[in-house]
Symmetry: C2
């Protein structure tokens, strides 16, 4: 186990300290324990607040998407563990500008439980809450049970579209509708090559023999749909992109956004190899890639591997993707 860390039990707290020290112009803590972070300018009067959250270990996942045109606040759990309802409530109160608050997070048991509990606690405070649970991982459940799927890298698109809608002053109903539509338009599938070692446990999240890969793996090492010999970049991109496109079932001529996401230890060079083949296959299916994203967007500490996300676009979603966004981790508002 080679990690650049201090004591495992303060791992998350020290990361947050580093983050707050590095980006004082962008984010601030809403609580003494620093587990509820919000935009520096929160609350924005008359604007819908957006609160996300989840376990740590996915940077820039969650924490990194608090900013202008993105989420307004985040509740930060321990590594791969849900934040508490109280932490979510504190983030909620700190971003409440009187227009309601949207909860947006990945479909994991602990997160669902605690966000629902926080919503119950926010109601007596007079804060209207709506919730969109993200479910873009096609490998995690069959299409007929799409609501049971886990949320993975597609969260970038959900945050981006909902955040742009909130920023321009849309109502809570509209921000929630757009966020739900963004989620429903996304399909993701991953491939894992090597596991993450949890700092506190000192153990890998899964084991995978030398020379093997696991297709469909989750961002906490949840089992995938196929384990076998490591294939070429082209073969992996084809496998994943085909499964995604079959599930998405987009009409010929449709526009899509294509995101190739690194899970932590996979170099950007390899992500571009996946992008290259995936984009060609998408074009071969008669679809047009209108926006491209290649990099680390939702990770799993030092897991080697990648995921591919395809989002079906219409004029509304594309305009929201193209709107300005500013956080220390994600800036946009320009050409693809």
């Amino acid at each position: 186990m080679k990690k650049i860390i201090n004591e495992p039990d303060v791992f998350v707290d020290e990361i947050i300290e580093g983050l707050l020290a590095a980006h004082p112009a962008w984010i601030k803590s809403a609580t003494a324990d620093k587990r509820a972070l919000v935009r520096k300018d929160a609350p924005k009067e008359g604007r819908v607040g957006i609160v996300t959250g989840g376990g740590s270990g996915h940077l820039p996942g969650f924490l990194g998407y608090v900013g202008e045109g993105l989420c307004s606040g985040v509740a930060v759990g321990n590594v791969f563990s849900s934040p508490s309802a109280e932490q979510i409530l504190e983030a909620t109160k700190a971003v409440n500008g009187g227009a309601g608050v949207l909860y947006v997070y990945g479909n994991y048991g602990g997160d669902v439980l605690n966000f629902d509990l926080a919503a119950d606690l926010a109601e007596p405070e007079g804060i209207e809450i709506q919730t969109v649970v993200l479910t873009d991982d096609v490998a995690s459940a069959p299409k007929e049970r799409a609501a049971d799927r886990r949320g993975v890298a597609g969260m970038l698109f959900a945050f981006k579209c909902a955040g742009a809608a909130a920023e321009r002053g849309d109502s809570l109903d509209d921000v929630a509708r757009i966020c739900g539509k963004a989620n429903a338009s996304c399909r993701t599938m991953g491939v894992g090559l090597s596991p993450t070692i949890l700092p506190a446990a000192g153990k890998p999240t899964f084991t995978l023999p030398e020379g093997e890969m696991e297709i469909g793996i989750g961002i906490h090492g949840e089992p995938g749909t196929h384990r076998g010999k490591l294939e070429s970049a082209d073969a992996i991109a084809e496998r994943i992109t085909r499964e995604i496109l079959d599930d998405l079932d987009a009409e010929k001529g449709s526009r899509v956004a294509l995101l190739v996401n690194g899970l932590g230890a996979t170099p950007l060079e390899e992500l571009y190899l996946l992008y290259r083949r995936s984009a060609r296959l998408i074009a071969d299916r008669g679809l047009k890639v209108a926006r491209s994203y290649v990099g680390e967007y939702v990770t799993s500490l030092e897991m080697a591997g990648a995921s591919i996300t395809v989002m079906l676009l219409d004029d509304e979603l594309q305009a929201l993707l193209e709107a300005p966004a500013n956080s220390p981790f994600f800036r946009d508002g320009t050409a693809s």
Copy 2:
């Protein structure tokens, strides 16, 4: 060896194909072999062109810093190998807007040879060339031989300052002066935890026993200054930051930019732990961190490890760092 690649001998060409496919609004190829890439709007009449280049495997290093307010073009070598003089010349001609071209690249033998040769070839074409060789790695030579040092992550700051100067219309003399000043104001030192495996050779760039680290390692696995037991994030940050600050010898009250750079496989979480301790030590020395950068800026494929760069700022350099920049890999022009 677990890599998501196709045939090793087309590794770089396929990465470039992916890159051009993903970012058609930003970059274009100046040659049929696609080894000379330039800004989409190149050449910009009356503006100084900036050409960089080097071996592949350092993304976003080199390739990723072609854009608005950054470099104008790049010559792309094979993995860890210099581009040819002809490729550099092609990039030079493609960015030449009549105001001269600045060459900016890291101090490596092959690069120096080929950029110098390209400058000789550009002269008869009527293109005035000036050169700044980057030398920010304090571990690679002692202070009295600072000109022999290698160029590493500090290149971000050199590209950013020179690019902003060129964008606003500075003369070649001024862009070269600013770039040289940015380089002279930067100090970097790295730590390696695990090697890169070269795709073609299939061999690691160095070996390091389990539980050990190497301080001062180069971005191609060049030997460092200290090899020993892996230490805590705080201890590593202290070691490196002290060496940098001793070498930089900044007056109390000075402003600096602080960059914590991941070498490829080290998660963002660990980089924030290094940032946290490094920033505190800098404050303890009576310096003020005015700009912060945490992420992967110059990598070494899948090497685990990190580097810390401190750049001494004055009003001129800080304004240039804060100026707008836009590339698919780096956007700036906002708060720290």
